[in-house]
Subunit: 440 residues, 2 copies
């Protein structure tokens, strides 16, 4: 007898039971189909890349987390996101691709983090990006917000709020206050505003950054602008900040808000938020994050924004873009924790075909072929066991119907169709079964 090895998985990887995998795949497929509905092209770059290429820009925390190894002459990494591979892909094909290049990619990325609840070493990301050559219309920023709204409209996690800002506004605002040198420090603190609260922020701005009371008052007044989206923008204009970056940011934000309205996204689904920063060294214009109103504490369930240049480390071609990323593995984990994952019984198959004796297995295969030819998912149960075990099988897999084939059915050239929920049953022709199952 060979030694038995315990069949365990690596910590920090997600491996679902089939019932949960069906739900996971349903969410993934809503995301994918919505991306396609907006004309994003599919892309599937390798998970393994040359370290020299993948780490062109990386550094710090990210680089420490990377899975990297040598095989033969190759120094290889597992990708840690889908953005750097996109940058590589587009740079290598600048003359081949059609711009604006719109692509989606849904795939796994890898980070060798210390595993903790809800943090994965292997995780799905669902990304879209629209990449322009030299320029890209601001209207695209509005459209990617519509994508997020559309996805969560189809899923059943309740209402969302897309928080929306433009990085130029705060950048210009600080420039006008002559705080350009301290901008990074200030923005890092402002980004935590929602978490740490007003009192802490004021204290930090004074003690850590050394701002005077008057400046802090102005900054706090700016951050606390309230009201409807239109009111917030109107309030902002009242600051009369004399800075071109600021003015451009306000104008861009206003344009995006108006376009999102035109596209039919209801006003209560997006909210201008001047304290939203997101990714200090990457985004340069529109930025956004999405929260589930029922579960704001799980954090952003879809964020992104506008960047000036996708791939400066791979090409001299300027490639501005706007994108969205949904961290699906983390989202699924959080939804499960919150009990927001539908308890609805999902089944891959519409019916379980049960031959009462082995000699009817050929009849089972025949009706199965007929139903499948009509695009009805069905499953056969061929094992020699008690009838109640066959029913139990259908029950456990949430299969809604069974089709019984016994002596009487075969003699009559019919089949007994039973609805396992209503307990109704009838002995009918194959054609009738097709009709009923197509409707149910």
């Amino acid at each position: 007898m060979d030694k038995i090895i315990e069949p365990r998985s690596l910590a920090g990887t997600m491996e679902l039971i089939p019932a949960d995998q069906i739900v996971f795949d349903r969410i993934k497929s809503v995301i994918e189909n919505t991306y396609k509905k907006y004309g994003f092209l599919p892309l599937d770059t390798p998970s393994i890349e040359l370290s020299q290429v993948l780490l062109a820009k990386a550094g710090g925390e990210t680089e420490k987390q990377i899975y990297r190894f040598n095989k033969g002459d190759s120094d290889i990494c597992l990708r840690f996101d889908l953005t750097v591979p996109l940058a590589k892909y587009v740079s290598a094909r600048v003359n081949e691709l059609t711009f604006p290049f719109k692509r989606y990619q849904i795939g796994k990325s890898y980070r060798g983090e210390r595993p903790q609840r809800g943090r994965y070493r292997e995780f799905y990301q669902c990304d879209i990006d629209i990449i322009g050559k030299d320029s890209l219309s601001l209207s695209n920023d509005a459209e990617v917000l519509c994508v997020i709204y559309d996805i969560y409209r189809q899923l059943d996690f309740g209402k969302i709020t897309i928080m929306l800002n433009n990085r130029k506004i705060v950048t210009g605002f600080l420039e006008a206050l002559n705080l350009k040198d301290k901008a990074t420090e200030i923005l890092r603190l402002v980004d935590k505003f929602d978490k740490i609260g007003e009192a802490s922020l004021v204290e930090c701005l004074a003690k850590e950054v050394g701002l005077d009371k008057k400046t802090i008052d102005i900054v706090m007044k700016f951050l606390k602008i309230a009201g409807t989206n239109s009111q917030k923008i109107a309030e902002l204009k009242k600051f009369k900040v004399d800075n071109e970056t600021f003015k451009l940011g306000v104008s861009e934000l206003e344009t995006v808000v108006n376009l999102v309205r035109s596209a039919g996204v209801p006003e209560e689904y997006f909210s201008v938020n001047f304290a939203l920063m997101r990714g200090l060294d990457y985004y340069t214009g529109t930025v956004f994050e999405t929260v589930l109103d029922n579960a704001r504490d799980i954090g952003s369930v879809g964020g992104g924004g506008r960047y000036d240049n996708l791939a400066g480390y791979y090409t001299k071609q300027n490639l501005p873009g706007v994108g969205v990323s949904i961290g699906l593995s983390r989202l699924f984990f959080a939804l499960q924790e919150k009990g927001l994952i539908s308890k609805q019984k999902l089944s891959i198959s519409k019916a379980l075909i049960i031959p009462m004796e082995e000699r009817f297995n050929d009849n089972a295969l025949m009706i199965a072929s007929l139903l499948r030819a009509n695009n009805i998912n069905v499953q056969t149960f061929f094992e020699d066991t008690k009838f109640k075990n066959k029913i139990a099988y259908a029950d456990k897999l949430n299969i809604p119907f069974i089709i019984i084939i016994g002596e009487d059915e075969v003699k009559a050239g019919k089949f007994t169709l039973k609805n396992l929920e209503s307990r109704e049953q009838a002995t009918i022709s194959a054609g009738d079964i097709v009709n009923i199952l197509r409707k149910n």
Copy 2:
């Protein structure tokens, strides 16, 4: 200016242009939907596994090709197939899963081979398996053959032939000839019969294995049995081999052939072939491989078979099964090489929406939302460029329709829909556009 790094990919990885990716995804989705049509449940195990677990059974050539590395305290491997992860998954959940457990998995596996044309280091496999607890009905073997037929019926690569055998037949045959000790050696040669031809095989059986002429004659007579499927089985029975394994094999093969017929697979799509071996140390009953009649030289495009025990190295529970694997990356490469990949122009979007001026971008987003709400994939073109460039964009992406929004259209509350192939165009209402695009 930062240093520019060449944006290249690791050799032996597949990275397609969007037009090819659309075709690749279409094949993948036919395979996935067909797997579901037969009631296989989705499974998505991690690509990274603990080496100690994943390599429980591996050895030899496979182990040399494995991507293996350490990170922190973990000794990690990239999976090299989807079967060992399945064995791990099932063994760990023997008391949780519902048996027979039917699962499909479509995912990437990794082997650090020397890259050569058509050989990938990262490649997609599309697997199904049906796993029984202690026993599994032979009828399942017939059903997985139907799955292969069904998949290739939907794809447009021409007629296929599923070559079919039962390993017990040759095993019993050699036992009856008192050649059990030499069985492995003989089978390895027989497996090459199709490639090396009769003369070479006879020579090898004599020189390498040391068989006498009389024995070789019997073996060759066995291997060369010809005729229809029924004739071959009838001929085989005439050998009157007095061996239980042989008799069981013949009976199993006959049962599977009859069931495949009952399921409606046309006779010319499957062919009994007593020389087919496939995987010497794994399969124990039914074995099969599929070839495209137009391109037999690309090898098997879907093979598998019956095994006695999935996971002896992980659990004492006996887990017999039957499965199919389609090597999608290799298949796609081979089909491209043969020119068998459809040159049909596929597009993700049905229409490109073109506002003639920036001020009509909001109208574009409005009609886009309306069409998408009707599940029509459409794309917007917001960039400020000449009209001919906008048309060229639709052309390059094979988008069949454009929707033009100009001054006249906005005033009239209508849109101009143009079919880029027929050049027909009409200025019509949004509702009419929905109707036309839903039909096309």
